[in-house]
Symmetry: C2
Subunit: 542 residues, 2 copies
């Protein structure tokens, strides 16, 4: 081995000229300077340029500073996808503070827990949520500064704050000289997991990760310059998968959307020439099943990114038949949203529609900026064989994994044990290196000692022409331990019996995997369109 001293280690240190913290805040500064007059944000009658949006962000940062907010302080926001939330993704970290975008479907108790745990010093509140926030504020010890978002496009609710957002930022300086974080590892946002069991956990993101995932989105989705992006995905969900920062980096347009409705989505795509949007499969399903006249007049190509559950084949086929290109991604709050992508191979285009949908329903491979992905034994961390059959837990590592859980070092340590992030999702690993999620650890059904993937049963149910939505959970059974129980919403006008559904499943999969019981009716969902299986599990066992 060489034993000389390493000449590359001397006189080549970091300094202000050759090193800078990675932060997505640099993106908005650049777009405002290079494309000052291009449209940045559209909401109802509002159209703001990058220059205007950047000024508003700096005003927000400045105003926060004037109210004593600085490094390590938490600023919460409770609002749908309106411009103020987009601005908060820049203005809040510009003053060194940490943005905590709240899930707007949460109840007062959950909100109170989060505000208390996250120590929010300020909260921005859209009128639509004045009641739940008022209630939550009564439950906590220290009342934060409350600023109203007074969006004229919403009627109802009340102004409950000290002042409204426009007045607040009017007092800020549009030339506020913000600083990059001292360290790119500094926190930028705080996102609470939905916490279906136990208290929600506060996932902390840092500037470096936000920067890298914003770029990873652009590269893996091939977004190009100036994408027109529709805000179907909530910005409170993993910071909209980091897309506020991706859009700033690519000087694109953020088309805001208060409510995820098919007519509003199709109108925005048609009128604003939207060419990119994200949504859970359930949103795509809703778009598929919308009346044909709603879909008319859209000629340009549209890219859709979907995650949150494997998109059923029928959903993918429906979207692609409309000329929408679906990219399937996967991730968790702990991985900045999508960190796994179903990379497409051009030669797959020659396969049958069914085969294409099957390939596309796999979660895929690591995103360009994720450093490690494996399916492994959760106890030994030994990778499973890439045989498409052996189930294991999904593990990630590297720069797209969170900083950790706020004020929860033991859970943080546990989730990182062995040097990999434990996702809690169960998957198989295919020979080509693509992973396919079979279930959440807690959603798997163990019947007579055999694993049944609830997702696999749901996929069969979705192939039935009468089924609109389906979810399968475990129901306790004396003989088998657990058996699958299906909850199904039928399409308008469909008439089908429980036995017909069970028979359909038996015709399309191993008999022991077919549901033993089928319950018809609407499905309980989270704000991000995920079906709440813990509610269904309770129902199944009632």
């Amino acid at each position: 081995m060489s034993n000389h001293s390493n000449p590359y280690q001397f006189g080549l240190d970091k300094n202000a000229a050759n090193f800078s913290a990675l932060s997505p805040l640099t993106f908005i500064e650049r777009s405002a300077s290079v494309f000052p007059n291009k449209t940045a944000v559209v909401h109802q009658n509002i159209r703001r340029t990058w220059s205007e949006t950047y000024s508003r962000c700096r005003r927000l940062a400045s105003a926060l500073t004037k109210h004593g907010i600085g490094e390590g302080d938490t600023v919460a926001v409770m609002a749908p996808n309106v411009p103020e939330v987009f601005e908060a993704h820049f203005g809040v970290p510009m003053c060194g503070a940490v943005l905590n975008a709240l899930n707007i479907r949460l109840d007062a108790e959950a909100i109170a827990f989060i505000l208390q745990h996250g120590e929010a010093k300020v909260i921005l509140v859209d009128r639509e949520f004045s009641e739940v926030i008022s209630k939550a504020l009564k439950m906590i010890a220290h009342r934060p500064l409350v600023i109203d978002i007074d969006d004229p496009s919403y009627e109802g609710g009340e102004l409950i704050g000290t002042m409204d957002y426009e007045a607040f930022i009017a007092d800020g300086d549009a030339d506020y000289q913000w600083q990059l974080p001292e360290d790119e590892w500094d926190a930028i946002t705080l996102n609470y997991t939905s916490g279906t069991t136990g208290n929600p956990k506060g996932v902390v993101y840092h500037h470096r990760g936000a920067y890298l995932n914003a770029m990873s989105n652009i590269v893996s989705w091939n977004m190009g310059q100036h994408p027109v992006y529709l805000w179907t995905l909530p910005m409170f969900h993993c910071n909209g998968w980091c897309f506020p920062w991706s859009i700033a980096a690519s000087a694109g347009v953020s088309v805001c959307l208060r409510q995820v409705r098919a007519d509003a989505i199709y109108d925005a795509i048609r009128d604003e020439k939207v060419n990119h949007f994200c949504g859970a499969p359930i949103v795509l399903n809703m778009l598929n099943n919308a009346p044909e006249e709603m879909k008319a007049g859209i000629e340009h190509s549209v890219k859709v990114m979907t995650a949150g559950a494997a998109p059923p084949a029928a959903v993918i086929q429906g979207m692609e038949a409309m000329g929408f290109t679906v990219t399937h991604v996967y991730g968790l709050t702990e991985t900045y949203g999508p960190s796994v992508v179903c990379e497409w191979h051009q030669e797959w285009n020659d396969r049958t529609d069914e085969e294409i949908a099957r390939l596309k329903s796999r979660q895929g491979v690591r995103a360009p900026m994720l450093d490690g992905l494996m399916v492994a034994n959760p106890d030994t961390l030994e990778p499973v064989p890439q045989d498409g059959e052996t189930m294991g837990e999904v593990f990630m590592r590297g720069n797209l994994v969170m900083k950790g859980y706020l004020k929860n070092p033991s859970t943080t340590e546990e989730s990182f044990s062995g040097g990999w992030f434990h996702s809690g999702d169960l998957a198989v690993w295919h020979a080509d290196g693509y992973i396919e999620i079979k279930d959440r650890s807690k959603d798997i059904i163990i019947s007579g000692g055999e694993n049944i993937s609830s997702i696999e049963v749901e996929d069969v149910l979705y192939r039935n022409g009468d089924v609109m939505e389906a979810a399968v959970v475990a129901r306790n059974d004396e003989k088998w331990g657990e058996v699958p129980c299906a909850f199904v919403t039928l399409k308008d006008g469909a008439e089908v019996t429980e036995q017909e559904i069970i028979d359909f499943c038996r015709d399309n999969m191993a008999n022991f995997k077919a549901p033993k019981k089928v319950v018809f009716g609407p499905l309980p969902k989270t704000s991000t369109g995920k079906i709440q299986k813990f509610v269904l599990r309770d129902k199944a066992n009632d």
Copy 2:
């Protein structure tokens, strides 16, 4: 101000699960795993996949390790754009070593200086350069291990090494377990400046910067997945502007090219469906002036990135008329190649051809991952007004600026003084934030106390239909101090006198800027197509 302790600073440290060094080595690992069977490298009859190329890189790293090469050791390469140089961009840093790609136009003295200064332990030598390397090796104290690159597509030269590259890597392990650098700040490559005055300086790049500029290329050029890239730009020049790593990140194709000739370039574009290549304006000029029959049969769109000098309007117009889209970028060896890009505004497409060419000839704004760019007074670092007239020096800062000069702390410190990298280029700053280089500090002509930009005079000369190439330098003058002297190569068959050229310039610019003397003949050039003005300056004053 808030005076609580910052909860985001506790229990949220870096660990193997959530932090990884940024390194472009992760790109090739990913492409080999996700797209193992896609073509990576094409050279003559050779077509290798990403899987094969990755194996060869690992073999190279392993073989180097077996010969005692490791962290901080330098491995030099002297070869044109053949697959071995591409592989060295990965295989060398995989074993912790630093790649030093040598400029193939250098003479034995310069090579000897570089090998000695860079302490190369190994050198890979293409047969074409066996003579100059043999000569250089005789001048230095410690002979490195010499490995021959025995490319069958070149006839001549000799094998001068211990063994040939194929035998060398055959001894390496295709499953070699390489490691990421301990620190992303660790050196990855060493690139000597052309050193037109004094000894060449060794510019050191690190893994972090190489990773970021590779991504910056993809984003700013909107390269997409699987670009087909032609190697017109030498890989020894700022590591081919970091494109070996960009191509790996986007799982593209590297089409190798031994010699930059118009016929070979057009053939490759036609046969391999090349859609991206880079070249100095002089290369584009050569392509423009090629016979029409050479250009036939190219139907697909091609993107060209140009830098090294402002592309004359005629060159841009000629390329675009062929359907090639030209992106103008700017940078230096010290900034990983292109770190400034002439970002295009869609609305500029409505301007006149002349106006478009003028806008495109400006160097532009900072690339997505450069953190700071300014034109400022070199003494005070005070930014000049953005008036398009006041000249100042170009300064850069941030992650696309080199680690420093090897074994040269005083020059490193000087070049970074005041926390900005001093480029030595003179520019004006336009009202829209775009910079326009007027000259190298040393190329500016000072006549009667007035600055004359040599580039401005050259631009006028290029507008003359008889002129093929032009360069303008200062010639000492008793009365004026300096006056412009033009060196001009005429197009085939053109007949024009010195006085006609001078008159043409006087008709198209302020009289005092017009050359006082015109010399006809071929121009001396560096290997990257830059005209060697220091040679012309000597001639002008002979």
